[in-house]
């Protein structure tokens, strides 16, 4: 029988160490909504989302009350809209109508984000894909809850450099369109390499075409719990350190698994995966950077950071994989800047640079995330940063992503305030040397060789 110490341990994690389930994300296929008539397409999409997700928020809240575990977000991901909308949308403006429909549906069912305003163009773009991508700035400016992502490369196909070039321009344009709100639109836009089909985390969530009609994916969290556990083993060996992370990750993930199964049972929708991610929030004590400090670094970004992060990421997976029957999504420690107080402190102290962040993304999920840069950087530089990050994903057979926020009207050292879970961020320095001639080449980078790994 469960004893009082075990009960207290669990409740302490929830009450004092910010243990929560970060998101229940309901994936919904919109393939059966495809229509050549734009109005009918929009009607069908609205109808399907609002009927499948009608009880999502209510069920999530019921689970929260039953177990006293916070479920911070209830969200929806849908089939990439470029696929769903291609036969009806003849222009970027047509696609924006679909974005508005998604926003309306999200508000109707009460979810805070809906992901899947996306295009998968890892080898090339169709006309429809390009319309969607070109519609992103307007779509994100006119909607509140829609999130967008574009997959521009993969290990199997290489990198579509035309899409990378275009995305540099689109990110800047999105920043411009939302400049009144510190270019917040860019926080809802991710560029991927090897994007997973079942990621429950925003802004990159979409419901892949290989998925069932609807599915429940759950993202767990709990950096604070890992940090507290590590405080008990200060100065101990790597063996003890790793075992502690693993055991803690196991416990965190078991809660996620329970919530996922309960949500699945109560909604009558199959359980997809658990995403084993340490997702920080701006709250003190809910930070991945603080874990790195607890492991023994003065600041995130100090020498040893990449090794510490690699260790952390791997142990989280080892502990979490046994705790869940299906693992997927991004699964790893997130290292966003604005959403993690410890990372913000590290940047402000001058310990953490964009280049070090790039190195860190080689060993963890997901990429350059929520990084504010000066709004006046050229589009080719944004594309260059994207290309570098995509190359890391392509060569290392992992998911990488870029979510940069070029803040219009702000410069290095200034701070931008996004609010809520998105936090605030110091504007970071970007290498000032150009890469225009590289980015202006047409075509794609070929898929890499899978042998001779050095």
């Amino acid at each position: 029988m469960i004893n009082i110490w075990e009960v207290n341990e669990t409740n302490k994690m929830i009450e004092q160490e910010n243990l929560d389930v970060r998101t229940i994300t309901l994936g919904i296929s919109l393939l059966d909504c495809i229509d050549s008539d734009l109005q009918r397409l929009n009607d069908k999409i609205y109808q399907k989302i609002t009927s499948v997700a009608a009880k999502l928020v209510e069920t999530g809240e019921e689970i929260e009350r039953n177990y006293c575990i916070p479920i911070v977000n209830k969200r929806i991901s849908v089939t990439p809209i470029a696929l769903v909308g291609q036969s009806a949308c003849r222009s970027a403006e047509d696609f924006v109508t679909v974005a508005r429909t998604l926003d309306r549906a999200a508000k109707a069912v009460g979810v805070n984000f809906i992901g899947g305003y996306s295009a998968l163009v890892s080898k090339g773009m169709t006309a429809g894909d390009e319309y969607l991508i070109r519609s992103i700035p307007q779509a994100l400016a006119e909607t509140e809850r829609v999130c967008s992502s574009v997959n521009v490369g993969s290990t199997k196909t290489g990198i579509d450099m035309d899409a990378v070039q275009l995305m540099g321009e689109i990110i800047l344009k999105t920043a411009e369109y939302t400049k009144e709100n510190d270019s917040l639109g860019c926080a809802k836009l991710v560029v991927f390499c090897n994007a997973p089909d079942d990621n429950p985390f925003m802004a990159g969530a979409f419901h892949g075409v290989t998925e069932a009609d609807s599915i429940i994916n759950v993202g767990v969290s709990g950096p604070g719990v890992v940090k507290k556990a590590l405080e008990q083993v200060r100065g101990e060996s790597f063996e003890v350190l790793c075992e502690t992370i693993k055991k803690t990750a196991f416990k965190i993930t078991r809660v996620g698994q329970l919530v996922a199964q309960e949500a699945s049972r109560r909604l009558g929708i199959p359980f997809g995966i658990i995403d084993l991610s340490l997702a920080p929030t701006p709250a003190v004590g809910d930070s991945v950077a603080e874990i790195l400090e607890e492991i023994g670094l003065e600041y995130a970004g100090a020498p040893g950071t990449t090794a510490a992060l690699a260790l952390l990421n791997d142990q989280v997976k080892k502990g979490g994989i046994m705790a869940s029957s299906y693992v997927g999504g991004l699964s790893g420690a997130f290292i966003p800047v604005s959403e993690d107080q410890g990372m913000i402190d590290a940047v402000e102290a001058g310990a953490l640079s964009l280049e070090k962040l790039e190195a860190m993304t080689c060993v963890c999920s997901v990429g350059l995330d929520m990084i504010a840069i000066p709004g006046e950087v050229p589009a080719s530089t944004v594309s260059g940063i994207i290309a570098d990050e995509m190359a890391i994903g392509m060569i290392n057979q992992k998911t990488t992503a870029v979510r940069l926020i070029p803040v219009i009207g702000k410069n290095i050292g200034e701070t931008v305030e996004f609010g809520g879970l998105l936090g605030h961020a110091p504007v970071m320095q970007v290498n000032r040397y150009g890469c225009e001639a590289f980015i202006n080449r047409k075509g794609r980078i070929p898929a890499p060789v899978h042998s001779f790994k050095n």
């Binding site: 469960i2 004893n3 009082i4 075990e6 009960v7 669990t10 039953n66 177990y67 416990k251 078991r254």
Partner: protein, 94 residues
């Protein structure tokens, strides 16, 4: 775990005072909730109690009981929390 049970963990944390257990147990018995186990300890001068209760025959739904107990806790000056047992089983048992 017995299949025909609906096990809930009730925790009471707060400043120790006379009659905490009595008041909680009175509420539970009034609503046909059977207490299976009680353990109690004092942590840093705080009263800390855990009950395992079976809500199978309860005449009120879980949410309502949880709310009632929360209110009762406020009256006594302690924090009372109801959680379904699975969250603890999952975290602490393989």
């Amino acid at each position: 775990m017995e299949k025909n049970m609906d096990r809930t963990i009730i925790t009471v944390v707060g400043k120790d005072t006379v009659g905490i257990i009595a008041k909680v147990c009175t509420y539970l018995s009034e609503h046909h909730i059977n207490v299976l186990d009680i353990s109690q300890t004092i942590v840093q001068e705080f009263f800390n109690m855990m009950m395992i209760a079976d809500m199978k025959n309860s005449d009120k739904p879980f949410d309502q009981c949880a709310k009632d107990l929360e209110v009762l806790g406020e009256e006594i000056g302690v924090n009372i929390k109801c959680q379904r047992e699975e969250i603890f089983q999952r975290m602490h048992r393989i």
